[in-house]
């Protein structure tokens, strides 16, 4: 076995067999020991059968991507062995249920026999395999018991009995010591997006189910008690966003979420939010397109579409965080920004961020809170679209003042009444343009671009690809530049980041290098492109071999 600072394990099975849960439980053993965790989820668009797997990677270092090879394989079915045996390191081990799977290598656990002896349910064979694995990788039984108690809610004692029997049936092969670091919450990107928005005052979340955004809806609905967000599932994405705009007009911080197809349906109303100056946050979690594409896999093919979403002259915030901690931070910031500038704001993420699990850095989100937008002071006659110097008109909400509040999708005067004359049209567009200028200035004051390392060679990447690029960059001594805000584009910060850089390598998960298009429009030339568009994430080794 290699040293114990870095370790990967694949947990696989058919859909419905519980491989994802098993992966999370195993990750939590290491979390208890203070390791950093990254779990990549791979599953198909089906309910039962097929092949699902979780790749759990643990490390003493910060990690945000998967490795090509694994040290262990926990197989809930034979197919998992067939699919992943070749992905094991030379001395890697396969742990499997020998009562179900005929296989002559690896470590067979008599899971069914153990469950039967304990009078347990068939699903508890997973618990037996987890128990056996815990022993093999040297996890104390007390930790196994603690995690099972937390993660399993039915027949807890019976599960622990099964786990104990399996634990005692095998030998320890490798021992992981506690790092001495505390344990961190393990969050998926979508969970972090939900929590970040709540930290900025989210009160309503509206959605139509669409992978990979759906788990935001599930999470907020499931945690109503702690988070107090009302959730709605409506007839289509068009009603979703129009309802959300109504809700925001009435003063409630509201968010919606979907993937490319649903997001496309929302674009008419993104334009409406721009015209009516209604603050609204939209999550677009990308999967490979065009059209239905590949629902449960990942891609970054919506970039240009998102940057141009909504008809008419309009600037919206587009922000692309890369991991769970960044997702929380930017979900908070974008909600506050949307309300500060009364504008549509889009969190552009992808399946890799939405559904993968990350060690969450709580310290980095301390102090993030709701920041109020510009609220009307109650003096004089209220005008929803008052022509102010910076283009931001004070907000008032219907029913919360005795003044009349009128919003309109038509071009309108300051009061909100329809106009068609040339000077009024120009006046109001100019007002909005001044606001867009303020949005640009705001971005200049934020850390809109992050850089890692230094050198004359730089990788530019965005969204979830930052994780893998950062590790590659560290390994090869290459600078990594990650634009987080993509609209308004932080041109000045990008210029600073590229200071001294002679060669630009673009890493992107789409077929047409859409980010190159964006960079070119700011005069930035890309020297080399590393593109991937098979729905799967980049591995560290893959990018490394293409750069060398």
């Amino acid at each position: 076995m290699k040293n114990t600072k870095e370790f990967s394990i694949i947990v696989g099975g058919a859909a419905g067999q519980g491989s994802r849960k098993a992966g999370l439980i195993i990750a939590k053993f290491f979390n208890e020991l203070g390791y950093n965790i990254f779990i990549n989820e791979d599953y198909q668009s089906l309910i039962k059968g097929g092949h699902n797997f979780s790749k759990v990677r643990i490390s003493t270092e910060e990690i945000f991507c998967e490795r090509e090879k694994a040290d262990f394989l926990l197989a809930l079915d034979k197919n998992t062995i067939d699919q992943h045996e070749s992905k094991l390191v030379p001395d890697g081990k396969i742990v499997f249920n020998k009562d179900k799977i005929g296989f002559d290598k690896g470590i067979g656990v008599a899971a069914d026999v153990i469950v039967k002896e304990a009078n347990g349910l068939p699903i508890m064979s997973n618990t037996a395999l987890i128990g056996a694995l815990a022993k093999i990788i040297g996890v104390d039984f007390s930790i196994l018991e603690k995690v099972l108690k937390k993660e399993i809610h039915k027949e807890v004692e019976k599960n622990i009995e099964v786990a104990k029997k399996a634990y005692d049936s095998v030998e320890t092969l490798v021992k992981f010591e506690s790092t001495g670091n505390g344990h961190k919450p393990l969050l998926t990107g979508n969970e972090a997006i939900a929590l970040g928005a709540v930290s900025a005052g989210l009160e309503k979340y509206i959605a139509y189910p669409m992978t990979p955004a759906t788990s935001i809806l599930h999470y907020l609905a499931d945690h109503k008690e702690e988070l107090n967000v009302a959730t709605m599932q409506t007839e289509d994405e068009i009603s979703v966003i129009n309802m959300a705009i109504g809700s925001a007009f009435a003063g409630k911080r509201t968010m919606v979420g979907s993937s490319g197809g649903g997001f496309a349906l929302m674009t008419e109303a993104i334009s409406l939010a721009g015209m009516t100056e209604t603050p609204i946050v939209i999550v677009n979690s990308q999967r490979p397109g065009p059209a239905t594409g590949v629902p449960t896999y990942s891609g970054q093919g919506d970039l240009l579409f998102t940057l141009a979403s909504g008809h008419g002259d309009l600037v919206r915030f587009v922000v692309c965080p890369s991991d769970a901690t960044e997702a929380f931070i930017w979900s908070n910031k974008i909600m506050n920004l949307a309300w500060k500038y009364q504008t549509p704001a889009i969190l552009l993420v992808d399946k890799e961020l939405s559904e993968n699990t990350f060690s969450f850095d709580k310290d980095k989100v301390q102090g993030l809170k709701k920041e109020e937008g510009l609220i009307w002071d109650g003096k004089g006659e209220y005008m929803r679209y008052k022509n102010t110097e910076n283009g931001i008109s004070p907000m008032a909400f219907p029913g919360k003042t005795t003044e009349v509040v009128k919003a309109s999708s038509y071009e309108h005067d300051e009061k909100g009444i329809t106009v068609e004359d040339a000077s009024s049209i120009k006046l109001m567009q100019d007002k909005r343009l001044r606001k867009f200028e303020e949005m640009k200035k705001e971005i200049d004051n934020l850390e809109a671009i992050k850089t890692y390392g230094k050198g004359s060679k730089a990788i530019i990447c965005w969204g979830s690809n930052k994780g893998v690029c950062r590790e590659v960059g560290e390994k090869l001594g290459i600078k990594v530049i990650q634009p987080i805000v993509l609209q308004p584009f932080p041109a000045k910060q990008m210029q600073d980041a590229l200071e001294g850089v002679k060669e630009v390598i673009l890493v992107e998960s789409n077929a047409t290098a859409q980010m190159e298009n964006v960079l070119n429009s700011y005069g930035i030339k890309v020297d080399k492109k590393i593109l991937k568009y098979d729905g799967r994430p980049f591995t560290l080794e893959e990018i490394e071999s293409k750069i060398k």
Partner: protein, 277 residues
Amino acid sequence: MKELETNCVNTWCPGCGNFGILMALKKTVEELINNGTPREKIVLVSDIGCNSKIVDYINVNSFYSLHGRPIATAEGIKMANPELKVIVFTGDGGTFNEGASHFIHAARRNADISVFLHNNRLFALTTGQFTAVSPKGLKGKSTPEGNVEEPFNLPELAMTAKASFIARGYSAKADHLKSLMVEAINHKGFSFLEILQPCPSFFNTINDYNERTYEITNNADSKDKALELISEWNYNGEGKIPLGVFYKKDRYNYEEAINKDTDDNKVDINKCLEIHL
């Protein structure tokens, strides 16, 4: 009431049915105010079309929405602030062509909003094309040989969609219309008020309606009776056109169910993070 006026120039055609609807609306708002609903608790939400200009002509809170979408906007407003009386102004094209799905779902879930449907039975502002409510055979610029499609029977559709209040008024009978508007707004749940609105420019039905409409007396608690009245007019041929409340039923409403247990503003993110350790 002077404070209900705006300085917007009215651009409806002379003789448009919308004038009668505006008059009835102003009287309705006055009555609501006199009966204790402050003006600021009323929000009008409009579609796009001749009908929707009404929100520019009355000084009450409003959201001028997109074509086909005002019902969704209104549901969002009501859900965000259940104290508000939210009234949608829309046309037959906006609601039964572009936005039909929002209508049936809002009715089904019993969102506590009122939908006032200006029914001129064609697209007027786009200079006269058939809608889903136009009579079969109607000649318009897109159907010079006559519309080949069957129209919806609107109250029948509303009934199927489980609307909890269904009524029909006529723009030329403003007092009767006002009483229907007040009753619709005061109904707790989804109320649908179809308003016959002659279009003097493209489909002038005023003589026809004056002849064929009549006011019903109905206690509105029977589905069978409602369907009987509703089927008197099929939106195509002859027959009497009943006006009044066809059906009314109290049932749970959407916003209360959605907002249940979320009003106390107690948010504990750390408690949530504990679960993820």
